[in-house]
Amino acid sequence: MKRILIIDDSKAMRMIVARTIRQAGFGDCTIVEATNGAEGLAAVRAQTPDLVLCDWNMPEMSGYDLLEALNADGKVPPFGFITSEGTLEIKVKALEAGASFLIVKPFTVNALQDAVRGMRAA
């Protein structure tokens, strides 16, 4: 894992996700940040990351709309949601759109570690 794109409109949450990535043992990765789906889409198109960790509910473009846009591009990088949206409906929608996992906030280091390792093993 070399380049991780964190997309969240909350600066505090981007900070927490970045810190948790380091604590989960991926400290050698380069972290790139975007503040909404539209910025995230531009970042992915500019340089495809090795992993996208994305919020669901954001202004301008939601995480789901971003994932749909990447599907339309025909090139979806490994993609996981980290969101407070934890309903079954949202989880199914996320996985059907091509996300590898959905982690519900608040989350632990182990939750992120397991999700990323599970994705790499798949």
């Binding site: 600066k11 505090a12 509910n57 407070s84 934890g86």
Partner: protein, 137 residues
């Protein structure tokens, strides 16, 4: 409250006197609309909001800007609202969080309100659930 403990690592105790009435307070709020209509407010003193933000950013309290403090409280409300939404009748939609000064807040209706009160290191803190199901919003 697992958000407080998991994300912030701050001590939290339930109390019957957690509403920071009288003094200045900040309110982080999210609206939930759909099969259930209402709002979830997280209300605390500016000092506690700064303490929580310092825990989220892992820095000293005085290193934080006002925007960072508000961003952190908004995210706490967002997490609480998202967890609540999962327990409600579906479909429901969660708004983007907004943070306001309590002095600027519209008075909440007297009915359909549930308040859970806490203290964190003696600072009052409350989570308020407002049910708009039977009201014009």
């Amino acid at each position: 409250m697992s958000i407080w403990e998991t994300m912030l690592g701050l001590p939290l105790e339930g109390t019957s006197d957690g509403q920071p009435d009288g003094g200045p307070a900040l309110i982080g709020t999210v609206r939930i609309t759909g099969a259930w209509n209402g709002a979830l407010d997280v209300r605390c003193t500016p000092g506690l909001a700064r303490k929580a933000a310092a825990a989220m950013f892992a820095c000293e309290e005085d290193a934080l800007s006002e925007d960072e403090v508000r961003d952190s409280l908004g995210e706490i409300a967002n997490m609480a609202g998202g967890n609540l939404k999962a327990l409600l009748p579906q479909p429901c939609a969660l708004s983007i969080p907004v943070v306001i000064d309590a002095a600027d807040a519209d008075p909440r209706p007297a009915s359909g309100v549930c308040i859970v009160q806490f203290t964190c290191d003696a600072d009052p803190f409350s989570v308020q659930l407002v049910d708009y199901s039977n009201e014009e919003t």
